[in-house]
């Protein structure tokens, strides 16, 4: 109704001090499929549900490796995520070239936060329509950051963004105290279970629609997709479902 006057651009405050364009960009994140991130004392895990447009099409990429020590999972406009992830790759490489060290995750998270903030304060721009989970291990240990289109960046122990992600967050809150000391395998199991809780009734996790990014314990960031996730699905949900998903693929 009268809200319409104040939601044409991101340089107009509403009488309540809100910026609707930024809030709408936040809605775009909720349209994207769900992604989950969890950290323990040693590892960082990202898990994502990939979507395909139709039966015959491929599945949209959800987890993007950035550097050898971290990656991001996205929910929302994939092209905006590509812009931001390219920027993150550049910055990470610059850090390695000039200082000879891997980029700190808090630093890269804050840099994209500052970039996104500019898009909410100047006319002719629009906020990024994507949310990111930035996760990996740097010299201060494992980290997980949540990035929102407003430029808000928060360090989390575990979180989830995207469609129906509240269900995943409920799971994560319930199991929060188990994460810190969890092994790599347990952490993956929790991430997949949280992901599963966010699925709509007619869907399930398969080797085709699931991707998992893992880093920690001295290993580099590795993206697991296709057949590589089937042992993870099997150990998370029992052999039955694991075999089922194998059949789909063969």
């Amino acid at each position: 109704m009268f809200r319409n006057n104040y939601d044409n651009d991101s340089v107009t405050f509403s009488p309540q001090g809100r910026i609707f364009q930024v809030e709408y960009a936040g809605e775009a994140v909720k349209q994207g499929s769900v992604v989950v991130g969890i950290v323990s004392k040693t590892h960082a895990v990202l898990a994502a549900l990939k979507r395909n447009a139709e039966e015959l099409s491929s599945y949209q990429k959800k987890v993007i490796p950035i550097d050898t020590h971290y990656g991001v999972a996205l929910a929302g406009l994939a092209s905006d995520a590509r812009v931001l992830s390219n920027f993150m790759r550049q910055e990470s490489l610059r850090e390695r070239l000039t200082y000879g060290r891997p980029m700190n995750l808090s630093e890269i998270a804050n840099r994209i936060g500052e970039r996104a903030q500019i898009n909410t304060q100047q006319y002719g721009r629009r906020p990024y329509g994507v949310g990111l989970l930035i996760s990996g291990v740097d010299r201060n240990g494992p980290h997980l950051f949540e990035f929102q289109p407003s430029g808000m960046v928060n360090e989390m122990l575990a979180t989830s963004i995207g469609a129906r992600s509240q269900m995943a967050r409920t799971y994560l809150e319930k199991n929060l105290d188990q994460f810190a000391d969890a092994t790599k395998e347990e952490l993956i199991k929790h991430a997949l279970s949280a992901l599963k809780d966010s699925l709509s009734q007619d869907k399930e996790l398969t080797v085709d629609n699931t991707s998992v990014g893992v880093v920690g314990g001295g290993d580099l960031f590795k993206l697991y997709e296709g057949q590589e996730v089937s042992p993870m699905l099997a150990s998370a949900f029992g052999e039955g479902e694991g075999e089922e998903s194998m059949e789909v693929d063969t």
């Binding site: 009268f2 006057n5 104040y6 991101s10 340089v11 107009t12 405050f13 509403s14 009488p15 309540q16 001090g17 809100r18 910026i19 804050n110 936060g113 500052e114 996104a116 903030q117 500019i118 909410t120 304060q121 100047q122 006319y123 002719g124 997980l144 407003s150 430029g151 808000m152 928060n154 360090e155 989390m156 122990l157 575990a158 979180t159 967050r169 994560l172 809150e173 929060l176």
Partner: protein, 296 residues
């Protein structure tokens, strides 16, 4: 007050017929929803405290600091839109660095307040930007050490502009608060955010202008005031974040630092005790409803 629908509130930098900029006033509304932040100017330093509401259990405790260091002796705490706060602090760091580059000395707190006030004001001049949804409290300790006018490079003029009086001290603790309009003042005690009204009235009770409160006392009062200001949103959990900056021979050696955990927890324990005591009093004198809705 009936700004809505008049058409003068849809664009930044537009004057209404009675000379107001409504977009700036709306930006101030964004600040009013933020967590309470305060700053106290004590006789030997400055204390900052921030009420950080815990929005979710999943947020990492103790991470996501909201008080920032600008130059080694200056701190900023912001209330309002946090991404705007990061932009603001980033600009403040650039200003401090460029001052150092030019004058070979740290930027005086007053000069930084002036520059940041100008920067915020610039965002009220054009319709192509929006004002900062932010009120920031900026404070620091300016060194009292005698320096040549142009620092390490040589000595400056002895008289006239840039000349210095023998033995005159210029440094000390300073505190400023900058509003979305770019307006700023120096303060003995400053408060902003949701609980600013109760925080302000507590600050006024301290008689800070008499200048006899020590930094350690300041830390304890700051913790208590944040706890008092939190009373209105009791149902939500919060984390207390505190930082301070003292003179060269004080506990922080002229630097802006986080208040040590032990001292913060001591201050928090004291604050909780005081609050519980007040609660008992409240039950006796119920009905004395506070006029909290008088703002605007």
């Amino acid at each position: 007050m009936t700004s809505i629908g008049t058409g003068y509130d849809l664009s930044n930098s537009v004057f209404s017929p009675d000379g107001r900029n409504f977009q700036v006033e709306y930006a101030m509304k964004a600040v009013e929803n933020g967590g309470t932040a305060i700053g106290i100017r004590c006789k030997d330093g400055v204390v900052f405290a921030m009420e950080k509401l815990v929005v979710s259990k999943l947020v990492k405790p103790g991470a996501n600091k909201k008080i920032s260091t600008v130059d080694k002796n200056i701190g900023i705490v912001c209330s309002g839109l946090m991404p705007d706060g990061r932009h603001f602090v980033s600009r403040a760091r650039d200003e401090a660095a460029s001052w150092r580059g030019l004058y070979k000395a740290p930027i005086p707190t007053s000069a930084l307040a002036n520059r940041m006030g100008s920067y915020v004001q610039a965002y009220t001049l054009y319709s192509s930007v929006r004002p900062f949804g932010l009120t920031s409290i900026l404070g620091g300790w300016d060194s009292e050490a005698e320096l040549p006018v142009d620092g390490q490079v040589g000595s400056g003029p002895k008289v006239g502009a840039g000349g210095k009086k023998e033995g005159q001290k210029r440094g000390g603790p300073f505190l400023y608060m900058i509003e979305p309009s770019g307006l700023y003042w120096g303060y003995y005690g400053a408060a902003t955010g949701k609980g600013r009204q109760s925080a302000k009235s507590e600050l006024e009770k301290l008689n800070l202008s008499e200048g006899d409160i020590t930094l350690e006392q300041g830390v304890k009062e700051a913790a208590r005031i944040i706890y008092v200001a939190h009373e209105d949103s009791k149902d939500k959990d919060f984390e207390l974040e505190m930082s301070w900056v003292s003179s060269l021979d004080g506990p922080t050696k002229g630097r802006h630092e986080e208040v040590p955990k032990a001292l913060r927890e001591e201050a928090e324990a004291l604050a909780k005790k005081v609050i519980e005591g007040e609660d008992d009093d409240d039950e006796e004198a119920e009905g004395g409803a506070t006029g909290d809705q008088m703002e605007e």
